[in-house]
């Protein structure tokens, strides 16, 4: 199931994430095994003296003794090999820095990393989703990166404000953004043609979208399968609520606001798609995605990470566009992978410096990463002509001006997860949208209060 999904599902406070963290995955046990072979030997595989150091960028080099960096992440999907290749290339260009990457399911990762760090066996460098940063900062899993960021000469202007600011907790920076992965519109050209729609101009606002769905309905096609699950239902809800001018929480994130007008409008629109027959009832996990691949579903709002999956589907003629502005304003949900440095019992300045070099190098080489289905966070990379040539990625990159992230608040995932229940109940026609959202928001408010106490103390 995971290969159908984004490699990122854990991060976004979705119930699925929380529910899947104990998923008995093949990755179980990897963390402990790797923790056992922590720091120590520094013989870099393939590192030989003859190789030239080719530093890109502003030349933040590491000249110290050879070190080995443990680099953990959750790239278990198609993104894993891409990152592994980048790591290999980095190691071959840096004689004195050997990076050992290890990968496990995100769900396992977020559970194991805190354990590993607290027992002094954590990795040096890791990747975390943007909405995990505050929680892990508050729980002393990751360390502040302000000096590193400054030393790297990363220019905040090169990063979208939303993603750059979401990495700050308690006035300290904890993450360096690698990529942004927004939700976008994928459309099935064959089905659009069948319904007499122009397959080269997908609908981009409420009216044209509904007209397109009606046209599809006329052909007996249910055009927008609405998932009641976090992937993709809750992600759609998060995009829509912003389009309708609302937000998930109030400004200081002490109260849920997703049950106010815009949230209700957003969820009602989703539910109406089911009621009006534009979506079947009871769409199961991944059924919207599988239906799209099999020419049964015309439109799917899915993450940029699915580009590869659709490209690899035989007989699928598809295109991508920005999310239609259903609620009037343009807005999209997005996630972001961030580099983090783990807390260490015995800090080693050499490793810190080497880690910084590694982070910067990968960041600047994130074009390759983008090819796997990501938008590089760094504008210098996004401006490269090679990135512009990536048709789908560069289309989704247009959404960067209006993507939203959850507030940088520890434990925000607990409160976010309440939405999963509401969306599930409403889309499955078990509760009216307003009622479902009110019930969930009441729980969210209490959780926010408890977490404020827990992490504030």
């Amino acid at each position: 199931m995971h290969n159908l999904k984004h490699p990122a599902p854990v991060a976004f406070g979705g119930g699925i994430d929380r529910r899947s963290f104990l998923r008995l995955s093949a990755g179980a046990g990897v963390g402990l095994a790797l923790a056992a072979c922590g720091p120590g030997s520094s013989n870099a595989p393939g590192a030989s003296g003859e190789q030239q150091q080719s530093q890109t960028g502003t030349g933040d080099t590491y000249d110290g003794p050879a070190v080995e960096l443990a680099f953990w992440n959750g790239f278990t999907g198609a993104d894993g090999p891409v990152m592994q290749d980048l790591v290999k290339q980095f190691s071959s260009e840096h004689d004195n820095i050997a990076v050992k990457m290890s990968t496990q399911e995100w769900a396992d990762y977020y559970q194991k990393v805190p354990n590993a760090v607290s027992s002094g066996r954590g990795p040096d460098v890791g990747i975390m989703h943007i909405d995990q940063l505050a929680t892990n900062a508050a729980r002393n899993v990751i360390q502040p990166l302000d000096e590193v960021a400054e030393g790297l000469g990363l220019d905040p202007a090169n990063f979208p404000d939303a993603v750059w600011n979401a990495g700050v907790y308690n006035d300290q920076r904890f993450g360096i953004p690698l990529d942004i992965h927004p939700l976008g519109l994928y459309y099935n050209k064959k089905l659009m043609q069948q319904a007499g729609l122009d397959p080269e101009s997908p609908p981009q606002d409420m009216d044209s979208y509904m007209q397109a769905l009606e046209a599809l309905k006329g052909e007996g096609i249910q055009g927008h399968w609405m998932s009641p699950f976090p992937f993709t239902g809750v992600l759609q809800f998060q995009a829509l609520i912003r389009q309708f001018g609302g937000d998930l929480f109030n400004t200081d994130a002490t109260q849920a606001t997703y049950n106010e007008g815009p949230g209700v409008e957003a969820l009602t629109w989703m539910v109406d798609l089911v009621k009006e027959g534009h979506s079947p009832r009871d769409v199961g996990q991944d059924a919207d995605h599988v239906a799209f691949q099999n020419n049964k579903n015309a439109f799917i709002w899915n993450g940029i990470w699915q580009i590869a999956a659709y490209r690899d589907t035989d007989g699928l003629e598809w295109g991508v566009a920005e999310l239609p502005a259903i609620g009037g304003e343009q807005a999209a949900w997005a996630g972001s992978h961030n580099f983090v440095l783990m807390q260490q019992r015995r800090p080693e300045p050499n490793k810190l410096q080497a880690g910084a070099v590694f982070i910067k190098w990968i960041n600047e080489h994130s074009l390759e990463w983008a090819k796997g289905g990501q938008v590089p966070a760094n504008q210098m990379v996004r401006d490269m002509p090679e990135f512009q040539e990536l048709e789908e990625q560069s289309t989704f990159a247009k959404e960067l001006d209006y993507v939203h992230f959850p507030p940088a608040l520890p434990g925000i995932g607990d409160a976010m997860a309440t939405m999963d229940t509401a969306v599930n109940e409403a889309v499955l026609l078990q509760k009216e949208p307003q009622q479902a959202l009110d019930d969930a928001a009441a729980t969210a408010d209490k959780l926010l209060e408890e977490n404020a106490k827990k992490y504030g103390a």
């Binding site: 199931m1 119930g15 699925i16 994430d17 929380r18 529910r19 899947s20 963290f21 104990l22 998923r23 008995l24 995955s25 559970q111 805190p114 607290s118 508050a138 729980r139 002393n140 899993v141 399968w225 009641p228 699950f229 079947p280 009832r281 009871d282 769409v283 199961g284 996990q285 059924a287 599988v290 239906a291 099999n294 049964k296 434990g411 995932g413 607990d414 229940t421 599930n424 109940e425 499955l428 078990q430 509760k431 729980t443 209490k446 959780l447 408890e450 827990k454 992490y455 103390a457």
Partner: protein, 322 residues
């Protein structure tokens, strides 16, 4: 000392049971007195203390705090976490009992078929026919699969719109588009059905072993007396299986009460949190949200329920014995 006296006074005769022989042997060969059995038990007891007893006591301690192992302050909460479970205004109260109800429902629905179907299967597989071993293997096979495998497998079979099952039903003319994984009561049918398919082989194997322990002579004698098949089953097979039945019932009830993976993977708790079981909610709360005080408190309440249930099962079978 007691064992030695027993050894001296109890002659190891041909009529004594195996246990008596064991006691006699121990008594007569050990010169070190009463210490020996404890020494033999020590390694297990050590492991038991380390991995069961100590964590259990520590868990009790955790349940009295607002506990996150990574945060320096873990404020003492007294019975607060437990009181929360019984108050509707808390974040855990309503959800916990909803999840307990889910667990109770699943146990209630799944235990009877898991006791009866494997028994029937074992009776058939205990007979004499060609390919008996192959069939035994076939019925046991699903049990070998991990929950992740069967979960993903059935999720796609059961999907309301793109699933194999509804598609086959449609071909048979039943176009109901049943929401096997997203609507009650179908979610329960699915979860119970999948679990029965998955684990019946295990119970059947235990029953089979039990059936083979019943002496053939009893059946032969009954046959001579002209007993019907039903009479043989009721008066020989069932009483002969009594100890096995206690075991299978207890194991099945506990396994059903601990159900987790099937819900997690097949229904994800849907609709709403209707099929989120107690274990699933405890894991979410403790390991996902790091609210371990709450999670351990819930675990203890669940434990009390399971202990009471186990006692009830034993009491039930004891009455049958008398």
């Amino acid at each position: 000392m007691a064992t030695q006296r027993e050894a001296l006074t109890t002659p190891a005769s041909a009529t004594s049971s195996r246990r008596d022989v064991g006691v006699a042997t121990t008594g007569s060969t050990s010169g070190t007195g009463g210490l020996t059995p404890y020494l033999f038990l020590a390694p297990y007891f050590l492991l038991f203390t380390m991995f069961v007893l100590a964590p259990a006591v520590f868990g009790l301690w955790i349940s009295l705090h607002e506990w996150d192992f990574l945060l320096p302050n873990k404020p003492f909460a007294g019975l607060g976490n437990y009181i929360d479970l019984f108050s509707s205004g808390s974040t855990t109260g309503a959800f916990f009992w909803q999840s307990m109800r889910a667990t109770a429902k699943f146990t209630l629905y799944s235990v009877p078929p898991l006791l009866v179907i494997p028994l029937l299967l074992a009776l058939i597989l205990n007979g004499q026919f060609r390919g008996r071993t192959v069939f035994r293997a076939i019925y046991f096979a699903p049990y070998v699969l991990g929950v992740a495998v069967i979960g993903v497998l059935w999720q796609f079979v059961l999907d309301a719109n793109i699933g194999l099952l509804n598609s086959m039903l449609g071909r048979l003319g039943i176009d109901a588009n049943i929401a096997w994984t997203t609507a009650t009561p179908w979610v329960w049918v699915s979860l119970v059905g999948v679990t029965v398919w998955w684990t019946l082989g295990f119970n059947a194997v235990i029953y089979l072993a039990g059936l083979q322990e019943i002496p053939r002579e009893q059946y032969e004698a009954a046959a001579v007396d002209g007993a019907s098949a039903w009479n043989k089953f009721w008066h020989i097979t069932l009483p002969g299986l009594r100890p096995v039945l206690v075991l299978v019932t207890t194991l099945t009830v506990l396994a059903s009460a601990n159900m987790f993976g099937q819900s997690l993977l097949i229904t994800q708790g849907a609709p709403g949190n209707e099929t989120r079981t107690a274990i699933m909610y405890i894991a979410e709360e403790g390991l996902g949200n790091f609210r371990m005080g709450n999670a351990t408190a819930m675990s203890y309440v669940l434990t009390v329920f399971l202990v009471l249930t186990s006692i009830a099962i034993f009491a039930f079978f004891r009455r049958f014995q008398d």
